[in-house]
Amino acid sequence: MPDIKVTPLGAGQDVGRSCILVSVGGKNIMLDCGMHMGYNDDRRFPDFSYITQNGRLTDFLDCVIISHFHLDHCGALPYMSEMVGYDGPIYMTHPTKAICPILLEDFRKITVDKKGETNFFTSQMIKDCMKKVVPLNLHQTVQVDDELEIKAYYAGHVLGAAMVLIKVGSESVVYTGDYNMTPDRHLGAAWIDKCRPDILISESTYATTIRDSKRCRERDFLKKVHETIERGGKVLIPVFALGRAQELCILLETFWYRMNLKAPIYFSTGLTEKANHYYKLFITWTNQKIRKTFVQRNMFEFKHIKAFDRSYADNPGPMVVFATPGMLHAGQSLQIFKKWAGNEKNMVIMPGYCVQGTVGHKILNGQKKLEMEGRATLEVKLQVEYMSFSAHADAKGIMQLIRMAEPRNMLLVHGEAKKMEFLKDKIEQEFSISCYMPANGETTTVTTNPSVPVDISLNLLKREMALGGPLPDPKKPRTMHGTLIMKDSSLRLVSPEQALKELGLSEHQLRFTCRVHLQDPHSDSDTLSRIYSHLKSVLKGYAVQHLPDGTVMVESIVLKVSSSGEDPNLKVILLSWSYQVNVENFLATVSLFWIRVIMQL
């Protein structure tokens, strides 16, 4: 039996460093090629030596597919393609292709220029790597080679995020990447058609969470910002440059517009502006509202949001500032935080998760005094708020996706083992499909039951359909009469006549005969005519003929009467019919029956 093998190199029972190898129908595909944010050594990249010990990967991989531009999904790409060596096609959507190099370059700068690491990929490598990228459109089926085809579906999550359907022959795998089933202010919800893949590889970040309605959170967020502004306070929102930042910007922008507010909103410059540019361009990837209104006004052309300058932080009066990075551990956001922390009118809103050890984590846990470098302490008087704006599907969303796609098997990645365990049970229980959750380096094998395509001649099909009374039920298998010819590697189903003709064979006919002994004093011909008249009267609606050569034909059944040598009264009736159609079998039986009836008379 053919099977599909899935091996996570990263993201198996883990978050970060997404990299999953799939071999299906003899094709090897790498899904995502990410890095791990938590490590600074070799562990940050997937272990490509799993694929081959030495040499390039090109021979072992048919293609690489990147789901979206987050670094934990594409961070290792230049390393793999340029330093390990891979020359095959890399597939990603247009927005991902546009934004991904910006992020990679930024990442490179931080690691090489700031931390001074060597043996890291260079700018040129990023460029070379990007040259190998083939862009994908949504719902476009791309033929990687003769047998392998891929198709992208909208995934929400971030701009350009996609789910991919990989298909070889009749075997198929869907990889979701990260996705979001509830729409937000700038992106729509993930959607997939009923493609019924053999395996659905899904992320499971929020495997054990069912989230509150998004609107409540938004409302709370806006209310808090509004109140602070009205008090004359300043609001600091530490964000990572892409994704949530745009959502929050749109949220505030529309709120400002609706409420006619005048307080300035600033966005720290740099990377973000470049990214905003791409958001403006890729309007088709956003949600309904933005897509419909962009003719009047592109939502990403912010009216109220201006670029931030370091000196603005000391300006009097209320303001809202978005600053990077998101966990307040360094950079501009931390600087602004230090300036504003002393005033209880001000507020900081943490829109996402904070890693232990960062300033963000400390203040969220209620620490009122922070030790800064140089023994200085910082008193935190400003209000600290936490508001989760995460764009992953929750448990319900995952279930919804499964219902949409109707997979035969389920495979969970990109989540914590314990949570996965729970979701796995749930999935197995509710959908009664098997669910896997391999760890990194562990291979899951799923046996498939691929359908074998057989060509059938149209004439035969039509003939069979015409025979079958009411139309066939598509849900039920149906038997039909034909000949299967296996020649070379093709399978064909043809009518028996044609098969005989093609194979140069002559037809053999099989006839069944049966003798019936009958006590009858009449002569042979009389007996025959009696039988004939009787059958004629009984089998109305069938052709019963009395042929001149002394036989009776009921359709194609032949009846002959001869008297046995010894006893002239004992007549032997010979019945003969071909094995062909049920009707005739039936008739033969009927004839026999009636002859027996006559016998008894």
Binding site: R215, R217, K224, M259, K289, K462, P470
Partner: protein, 968 residues
């Protein structure tokens, strides 16, 4: 007879011409087609001819000829596309009004059995469908068509099956079981009815056929046939179909069945429990709210709203999503807010890890996939497409209206929707909340969220919210204060909202007198010992506070004791200037006003019935007047009119009816005066003055009748007929007067026109004629043959006698009559600053007006804005349909911009702006061939009230404008 023919011929010259043409074209049309088709050498040409032929209409008489020719060609044609086109043309032709298609049924059916091409077959079936729907009464044809449909049902081509199912759906009958004998060979097939037959195709291999079969079922239902319950399980299966159109139709089907058999019991699969069908289907439709296709989601969400019989238990599940975080149950933000409120603790905002889960969830107990209704609305309200969200809000609203407990529960969700990204959704949810607000009381935190929307920059949203606050119940005095505070904020931010805010506070005060009472000193900033400065009387915010307090004081007699002196003075002032906002109060020590006021209010409150009675009695009294000439009749009418007018002023509920009667009687009175004896006995030159009087009377009556017809809503046909009768009388009067003064040719034309109108009356009000015994119209109609035949002068004479002999018709009042009225809120006309603009260019003037009881302001009657410049120029401006908003039943809000322009003036001058009601009745259209509402009657010299076909709807407002010459 001859004369009459002559006359009609001359009367309708324009009608005769097409008639002649018709006779000429009849043979030529089919002949031309025939020639064309014969000329066509190849199918493409033939197709072209047919296409161009299809563009022209064919008269009913020539249809049959054309059909014959088409059929003839059809038999000869080999090309499929041409045959297809011919088949579709046959369908088109059989739709021709006046043509009965039963003569071609046989032909079409016979072609159907001969044709081989599937597409053509489908088209032919479509033609049969058209024919069948044209002949719903002809059971023989219907039966035949059904047989044909059954025969072709097992075609291999989906289109043919589709059309057959459609045919069955449109024509099939349930009461008569079908025999399938027509179906090939096997006679074993049992008797089956249409539904069974159609339901076989629920499992068809082609999704289009599956859809068609469900649609056919729905069609059967739509035609009033009861669907069988057996279809339910099949329909439920189809909900999981791969194709969205099938699912969409299936959702509808499930809904229909749930409405038909709400109480029957269905088993739950995989358990041995049973539930009501309505609950089961509710759960299933809820499930579809999270379908993959948004069309299906919209449909499902919409249908949910109409399933009111569902049990509350299931209903409440729709709002429950069972929050869970890290395997622990988490309370929703709503629940937390509720608890905070209940414990009295003030919300300190949410902290990091604040939603720390409380109880550990039993893993086996968590059901992630919702078995039924669970969370349907939560999903629907969060949907990506705003169409789904709107549908969900609407459904939520209609369900909540029938279930108070559900209303309570869905409140939080509706309030959340106030924050939607699309304005339409926000507006819709505000409206929804208003509709259910009778069931609910807002908590403080909810009110807070609601009030936050007051700062919205969209006027519609703010006004919808004011409207909502008018109907809202709040629970504490803090809520009242909060609302007042926010409304005052709103007032300072958007001063144009003044009226709306005041009105809102009026209702808020009247609703919660006891909650206002404790905060009165604070609101009025009075102090027990010290005198506080008197607030500025012109401050809109102060007026707002006073409106709140006074309305609360109306039902709270202890409150006036808390007022300070100036408050009383301000009360007197406001009671005078803003009487619609400030109610009458019984104030201590203010007897003289109180007495008058209380009298008035007693009349107002207690005696609606007696007033009604009075109205009826007056009408009865008047109706005893058989003859208009009888002595004292005039006086009686005069008094009655006076009484009715007064009644209308006193009793606002009856104002419409009273006014209507008064106007009607006034018409009668005028008519009576005009017809007085002495006038008609004198020679013409001697009574010029009387003549003039009578003709103005006639003119006035005409105008009044138009007002009667179009200004009042709630009229029934009978009243309209009565009005038309009076109008005819006035027209007859006019005719007589013209005949007396002028002699000669124009009279003939006028007579013809009059007779046409009489005919029109007969056509329009045939059913009402029995009520018009002895009336003018009835007599006229009796005399009609004579009238048509006689000469104009004789006609006038007859008219004169009939007019004077005819009886006065007793007016029968319908239930409710409302008089349309309009007030221009903006511009107020008080401004002294002229609106300056460069002459020749355009300036936009914002108009804000409310219309009351205007029947359908965009279609039947048209509300327009009329601008009258000081030099007599007048403009009529047509507001866009989008400028009309409907905040409540019977009320329309018009917010529009009027573009003004003029050449230079030296002084600022006032222009008059008013609202007009343009009417279009068939009769007035006949009278004035030029439509009265052509785009702009520019430069038409018009005096005060003589704009053709329009009625003044509001008082004119004067606006100062100043066009300045352009600087060079």
């Amino acid at each position: 007879m001859n004369v009459m023919k002559n006359m009609t011929k001359r009367q309708q010259p324009h009608e005769e011409v097409p008639a002649k043409k018709l006779r000429l074209t009849k043979p030529s049309k089919s002949a031309a087609l025939h020639i064309d088709l014969c000329k066509a050498t190849n199918p493409t040409d033939a197709l072209q001819y047919l296409l161009s032929f299809a563009r022209k209409p064919v008269e009913a008489e020539s249809v049959e000829g054309v059909v014959r020719i088409l059929l003839e060609h059809y038999y000869k044609e080999v090309d499929n596309s041409v045959r297809l086109k011919i088949a579709s043309l046959l369908g088109l032709l059989s739709k021709t009004p006046g043509f009965s298609p039963d003569c071609i049924v046989d032909d079409v059916i016979s072609t159907l059995s001969n044709d081989k091409s599937n597409q053509v077959l489908a088209q032919l079936l479509d033609t049969l469908l058209v024919i069948g729907t044209q002949l719903p009464e002809n059971t023989a044809v219907t039966q035949r068509l059904i047989e044909v449909a059954c025969k072709h049902l097992n075609s291999t081509y989906f289109g043919v099956r589709n059309k057959c199912l459609q045919l069955l759906g449109c024509l099939g009958t349930v009461d008569k079981p079908l025999t399938k004998e027509s179906e090939a060979g096997t006679s074993i097939a049992p008797l089956r009815d249409v539904q069974n037959l159609i339901s076989d195709y629920f499992g068809d291999q082609d999704p289009r056929v599956r859809t068609a079969s469900i649609k056919a079922m729905l069609q059967l239902h739509g035609r009033g046939m009861k669907l069988q319950q057996t279809a339910y399980s099949q329909a439920c299966k189809l909900l999981n179909d791969d194709y969205e159109q099938v699912r969409s139709a299936a959702v509808q089907m499930v809904w229909v069945l749930s409405q038909l058999y709400p109480e029957s019991i269905v088993p739950i699969p995989s358990s041995n429990e049973e539930i009501r069908l309505i609950d089961d289907s509710f759960g299933k439709i809820c499930h579809m709210v999270s379908d993959g296709s948004w069309m299906v989601r919209v449909q499902a969400a919409k249908l949910l709203g109409s399933m009111q019989q569902v049990s509350p238990h299931f209903l409440e599940q729709t709002l429950d999503k069972k929050l869970m975080s890290d395997l622990r149950r988490k309370r929703t933000a709503h629940e937390r807010a509720k608890e905070l409120y209940a414990s009295g603790e003030f919300s300190s905002g949410r902290k990091w890890a604040d939603d720390a889960p409380k109880e550990k969830v039993d893993t086996s107990g968590v059901n992630l996939i919702d078995s039924g209704a669970c969370g349907a609305f939560v999903h629907g309200l969060e949907d990506e497409m705003y169409e789904v969200r709107i549908a969900a809000v609407e459904a939520l609203c209609s369900l909540a209206q029938s279930s108070p407990s559900f209303a309570e529960k869905c409140l939080d969700f509706l309030v959340d929707m106030f924050n939607d990204e699309i304005e339409e959704v926000r507006l819709q949810s505000i409206h929804a909340l208003r509709q259910i607000s009778t069931h609910i009381t807002l908590r403080e935190d909810q009110l807070d969220t609601v009030l936050a929307v007051l700062e919205d920059s969209s006027r519609d949203i703010r006004e919808a919210l004011h409207e909502l606050l008018c109907y809202t119940n709040v629970s504490t005095k803090e809520c009242i204060q909060l609302a007042l505070l926010e409304l005052l904020k709103n007032l300072t931010k958007y001063p144009t909202d003044r009226n709306s805010v005041w009105k809102c506070l009026k209702f808020l005060g009247a609703r919660h007198p006891t909650l206002v009472l404790p905060s009165v000193p604070e609101l009025l900033s009075t102090h027990p010992y010290f005198d506080t400065p008197e607030p500025d009387m012109d401050d809109p915010a102060y007026i707002a506070v006073l409106v709140l307090v006074f309305n609360a004081a109306k039902s709270c007699p202890t409150m006036p004791a808390l007022f300070s002196d100036h408050t009383f003075r301000h009360y007197a002032y406001l009671r005078d200037s803003l009487s619609h906002l400030v109610p009458h109060l019984r104030l201590p020590g203010r007897k003289q006003t109180a007495v008058l006021g209380s009298e008035l209010s007693e009349v107002g409150s207690g005696s609606l019935e007696s007033a009604q009675q009075f109205l009826q009695e007056s009408l009865v009294r008047v109706s005893t007047l058989q003859n208009l000439d009888s002595p004292g009749a005039q006086d009686l009418l005069d008094f009655t009119i006076r009484d009715l007018k007064r009644l209308g002023e006193l009793q606002t509920e009856l104002a419409g009816s009273a006014d209507f009667c008064a106007t009607y009687l006034h018409c009668q009175l005028l008519l009576m005066k005009a017809l007085q004896e002495k006038l008609w006995n004198m020679a013409v030159p001697l009574c010029l003055k009387q003549n003039a009087m009578a003709s103005t009377a006639a003119q006035q009556i005409l105008e009044e009748t138009y007002k009667l017809e179009f200004l009042y809503s709630g009229l029934e046909t009978r009243q309209v007929a009565t009005i038309h009768n009076v109008r005819l009388q006035a027209k007859a009067l006019q005719l007589i007067l013209t005949a007396r003064t002028k002699r000669g040719s124009p009279l003939i034309g006028l007579c013809e026109k009059f007779l046409q109108e009489v005919e029109l009356f007969q056509r329009l009000f045939m059913s009402e004629l029995p009520h018009f015994q002895d009336s003018f119209v009835e007599k006229l109609l009796e005399l009609m043959p004579r009238l048509v035949a006689c000469k104009p002068l004789d006609l006038v004479k007859i008219l004169q006698t009939t007019l004077r002999q005819s009886r006065f018709i007793h007016l029968k009042l319908p239930e409710q009559i409302h008089r349309a009225s309009a007030t221009i809120i903006e511009p107020t006309g008080e401004s002294d600053n002229p609106l300056r603009f460069t002459s020749g260019l355009v300036v936009a003037l914002d108009i804000d007006a409310t219309l009351e009881h205007v029947q359908d302001p965009q279609t039947t009657v048209k509300v327009q804005v009329g601008v009258l410049y000081p030099d007599g120029q007048s403009h009529i401006i047509h507001p866009k349909p989008g400028d009309f908003r409907t905040p409540g039943p019977g009320r329309v809000r018009l917010i529009t911009q009027v573009y003004l322009s003029h050449s230079a003036w030296t002084e600022p001058c006032q222009i008059e702006v008013r609202l007009l009601l343009a009417y279009s009745s068939s009769s007035s259209r006949l009278a004035a061939p030029k439509p009265a509402w052509n785009e702009s009657t520019e430069g038409l010299p018009t005096s005060e009230s003589s704009v053709e076909g329009t009625i003044n709807l509001s008082k004119p407002v004067k606006v100062f404008i100043m066009p300045k010459p352009a600087r060079r």
